[in-house]
């Protein structure tokens, strides 16, 4: 389980996060949603240690991650898998090398075991046989899937996903959502997804945290979100005429 307590983060005069508290449970998909500039990605980066919050704690299974130094964080980081918005694949490496890279650094597996693991991860994301391609040869959706394959190569306990559906067609976006859902079940990992894709919110959101102006404005499940009276949340979720019509029918 991951717990964030009273997280504050500023960039100069811009106070981006203003005391966020939340709990993210294992085996569930938690979505962080909100408008542009609401602090979603900043919260995610504070959680994985890419940003240091000025105040507050990020706690992984009872251990205060924010107070740890680089060395102390390594055991937790080995249990973290992350898919970045632009996939962040190492462009000098092939698909297989990208997936094997964390294993080479931290495992004592033999070469054939590592290749087997890479093949399994690629099969898992429906990219079997694409081992020798370079990231430049992949489409946006394929890059995301390779990013997921790399994230699961070390069998993560914590899976972080930043805007998984940005730049993807609706069909591929649904495939990625389904994949995240299946992997969360398979590894029983604590999955945290930053998104503003409403299909994801309605489809896979076990727990939804809505941020507004750097504050926690609402939290609940995808079943509760359709019946909320919170104006800011309704303005965000049901912004389009299509979604408004869908809510009225619902």
């Amino acid at each position: 389980m991951i717990e964030v307590q009273n997280i504050h983060k500023s960039f100069g005069d811009n106070h981006v996060l203003r005391g966020i508290d939340a709990k993210f449970e294992p085996g569930k998909i938690s979505l962080i949603i909100g408008g542009s500039g609401s602090g979603k990605s900043t919260l995610l980066k504070c959680m994985v240690g890419l940003h240091a919050p000025e105040q507050g704690k990020v706690i992984y299974n009872g251990e205060d991650f924010t107070r740890m130094d680089f060395e102390a964080r390594i055991p937790i980081r080995k249990e973290i898998g992350m898919l970045f918005q632009n996939s962040a694949l190492f462009d000098s490496m092939t698909v297989e090398q990208n997936i094997i890279f964390p294993l080479e650094m931290f495992s004592e597996m033999s070469r054939s075991e590592k290749v087997d693991r890479a093949n399994y991860c690629l099969e898992r994301v429906n990219l079997a046989g694409r081992n020798k391609l370079y990231p430049a040869e992949l489409s946006g959706g394929m890059k995301k899937r390779v990013g997921i394959a790399r994230a699961i190569s070390m069998s993560p306990k914590y899976l972080f996903v930043d805007e998984p559906n940005s730049g993807l067609d609706p069909e591929t976006a649904i495939l990625i959502d389904e994949l995240i859902s299946e992997l969360t079940d398979e590894y029983q990992c604590t999955t945290v997804v930053v998104t503003h894709d409403m299909n994801s919110v309605m489809g896979i959101g076990d727990y939804i945290l809505f941020l507004y102006k750097g504050q926690k404005w609402w939290e609940g499940s995808n079943k509760e979100i359709a019946h909320t009276d919170v104006e800011e949340l309704n303005n965000f979720v049901f912004a389009s005429p299509f979604m408004k019509a869908a809510k009225e029918r619902f």
Binding site: P75, K78, I80, F84, L89, M105
Partner: protein
């Protein structure tokens, strides 16, 4: 401002020299970088050094217009100036442009495409993995390139001197061997070592902390080259003052 950047540079170096996660992976990277920096720059350094040596010989001959001075002195002057100054400094300035810009743009691109963040999240010491192999390759291969540059500058001088008729090959060879002191080569190697460290670490520093996109990566690369060049000239003065 200067002290802020210098402090940030020192902190980055501290992270660079942290114990590697797995030497085997780092070793592969070091070999790769040695090939990139050393073999990849060989042709350019060979052409520049040969021509500089040839031109230097002709210019020294042009200035030494006295029957009282033996022409073998041309070889001596060319030898000492090539070993002590021209080969280490020109090689370093050229490599600051070629290798330095490549390092800062490579690392800068990795920063803006979140590849460095990906390394850090995996628990890998990103400064160590990305920069240490480049520094180790720089401080080993740049001295090798400087030695080759010295040899080619002297050979260029032989060629230029004999083709232009400024000095006979026999006089020139006599000049470059007469009164040779091995200590001058040691000075050149110390300079090459220091310059190798500056080129790789300064360029990597500029790339590592870049923020923004492609435009900022280009700007960081240019700044890296400029700062490296100035640092090389300052270090050149300091090493010369200390060792000669």
């Amino acid at each position: 401002m200067f002290f802020t950047y210098f402090g940030q540079y020192l902190l980055l170096l501290r992270a660079v020299f942290r114990r590697p996660e797995k030497w085997k992976i780092y070793w592969k990277e070091i070999i790769h970088e040695m090939n990139e920096i050393g073999v990849g720059s060989l042709g350019l350094i060979a052409i520049i050094s040969t021509f500089v040596g040839a031109v230097m010989t002709m210019q020294i001959a042009f200035q030494l217009v006295s029957d009282l001075i033996p022409t073998s002195v041309i070889g001596q002057i060319n030898r000492d100036s090539s070993i002590l100054e021209l080969s280490p400094t020109i090689t370093a300035l050229v490599l600051a442009g070629k290798v330095g810009s490549s390092i800062s743009s490579q690392i800068g691109s990795m920063r803006v495409t979140e590849q460095i963040d990906a390394l850090e999240i995996m628990g890998i010491n990103a400064p160590g993995y990305l920069i240490l192999p480049k520094i180790l390759a720089g401080i080993t291969m740049i001295p090798v390139l400087v030695i080759m540059s010295i040899f080619l500058a002297l050979m260029g001088g032989l060629l230029g001197g004999s083709v232009s008729g400024a000095v006979t090959p026999a006089d020139y060879l006599n000049g470059i061997t007469d009164g040779f002191r091995g200590y001058t080569v040691a000075v050149a190697l110390v300079k090459a070592f220091v310059f190798g460290f500056i080129i790789t670490s300064v360029s990597a520093f500029k790339g590592f902390y870049v923020r923004g996109g492609a435009l900022e990566v280009g700007q960081a690369s240019t700044r890296g080259v400029v700062i490296s060049c100035i640092s090389i000239l300052v270090a050149d003065y300091i090493v010369t003052a200390l060792m000669l």
